[in-house]
Symmetry: none
Subunit: 277 residues, 2 copies
């Protein structure tokens, strides 16, 4: 993931605009800007905001002042989305108008595919703090999008919903861009790809030297009976097989085995060596 240029991600995300309709609290606009900037989005359109400008916006958008300068203010939702190809209206699950409904994750994946493959412009529309979007506004969307929450409790507020959607947009972009990079580099995709190591992992071949060394040492200190090893070798393989040692760890453990062997056969004695470890 580190090979992916941050600027490339932000470039893709510049095609996704956040649209806030009739927002009452300036703090929510500030929080939205911060959430956007953190995830790499840059375009905010305000439809007839109740209070704008306001110092709370700047306070909560700390460090995202470049996004404040780019805010676009319009009078109607139609103006905000007129050049968009794909419009999502955010909505709680149950609505009076039936509409194709996507969860935040597939909605974000669909959006970023449309951006990366077809250079489409995307809008995610968020409603008023108290009553969301009207049915007329929701009918302007191609899809409705919802965030799966604990239905016993209630919905996210607008700032939290923007946070989650911006996060999903970034994750969808990373996934798609990684897939492109992977296809070019023909890289393996496994669970370990999510981990970041400073040392390379050892190979299967190296581990095949590790287990005999471990068992040999255990035999020498008579912890393991080579004639009747029972399940011990298998247990060691199960244990270290799931750990995936890196090279440093591998040499560290083999160094410990060698020390124990030397101690046992008398070639190393306590407090006689100067150079330890």
């Amino acid at each position: 993931m580190d090979i992916i240029d941050n600027a490339v991600i932000s470039q893709h995300l510049s095609h996704v605009r956040i649209v806030m309709v009739n927002t009452t609290l300036p703090a929510n606009i500030g929080s939205a800007l911060r959430a956007m900037k953190t995830m790499g989005l840059s375009k905010l359109v305000l439809v007839a905001p109740k209070t704008y400008p306001h110092p709370d916006i700047d306070a909560l958008a700390a460090g995202a002042t470049d996004l404040i300068d780019q805010i676009e203010i319009v009078e109607t939702l139609e103006q905000a989305i007129k050049d968009c190809h794909l419009v999502f209206g955010t909505s709680a699950r149950s609505r009076t108008i039936p509409w194709p409904l996507l969860d935040a994750r597939p909605a974000s994946q669909k959006s970023m595919q449309a951006v990366i493959k077809d250079q489409q412009e995307i809008a995610i529309v968020f409603g008023r703090e108290d009553r969301g979007l009207t049915n007329e506004e929701l009918a302007l969307a191609n899809y409705h999008v919802t965030i799966p929450v604990n239905t016993d409790y209630g919905v996210l507020n607008v700032a939290q919903a923007i946070q989650v959607l911006c996060y999903e947009m970034r994750m969808a972009t990373l996934e798609l861009v990684e897939k492109q990079v992977d296809t070019q580099a023909v890289m393996q995709v496994t669970d370990t790809d999510h981990m970041h190591w400073d040392e390379p992992l050892v190979t299967h071949e190296q581990m095949e030297q590790f287990y005999p060394h471990f068992e040999q040492m255990l035999a020498e200190i008579e912890f393991l009976d080579p004639k009747n090893p029972r399940l011990l070798p298998l247990r060691l393989r199960r244990l270290f097989g799931r750990i995936q040692l890196d090279k440093m760890e591998y040499h560290l453990l083999r160094g410990i085995f060698s020390r124990v062997q030397a101690l046992n056969n008398g070639t190393w004695k306590k407090s006689q060596n100067e150079d330890q470890n």
Copy 2:
């Protein structure tokens, strides 16, 4: 997705605790509770909070008062996680100590698999508002977890990070439960993480006896210099922290340490004992 019982999701998520260390702003505790409740989590542990209780907590946790009643306050991080099997420390990407690092999504998937299949207890640990977790605290974790953000801008604040992780925990749970519903609880075994163990896994508290024993043994055979241990103790924690030992393996390894100690101090001698292993 609508066929899934919300109570089942919350039941699984009750095994995931959010741990906040030395939190300064009560508003962040309130926001955390709200984020948790929205996503179905219920257990918050505060390690030595700077200000508690405080009316801002109640104000921001609007409607999540049942979670306030369940808050646990402890003095140290160790107390907060002692009965946990899998501990995640939240961290920005670049750190002085190298550790297995997972993004929020795979970390959440790993956690909820561990909960649903093996009834493990999970902790996600969040640090101070200004400087996160110390290296000592991070070394107590099995994994570090990070949220991929726009690196040109900066990191999420603690409330936003909790929001995203709680969301990912819910999504991971929904996915796993849906899969169970789809396949009548017969799940695919793909990698070692999915294995069912015959032995219960050891807890964090037991591992806190394992490391000192290991280090003591290494000091006795002068592989480790207690006055200048360098990175060795940290490397051992990193290595065995990601392995999740079961009880059999734990006793096996401690048995080896004891044998080496006895060999070294002369209480056990080669070929004199009848009963090995």
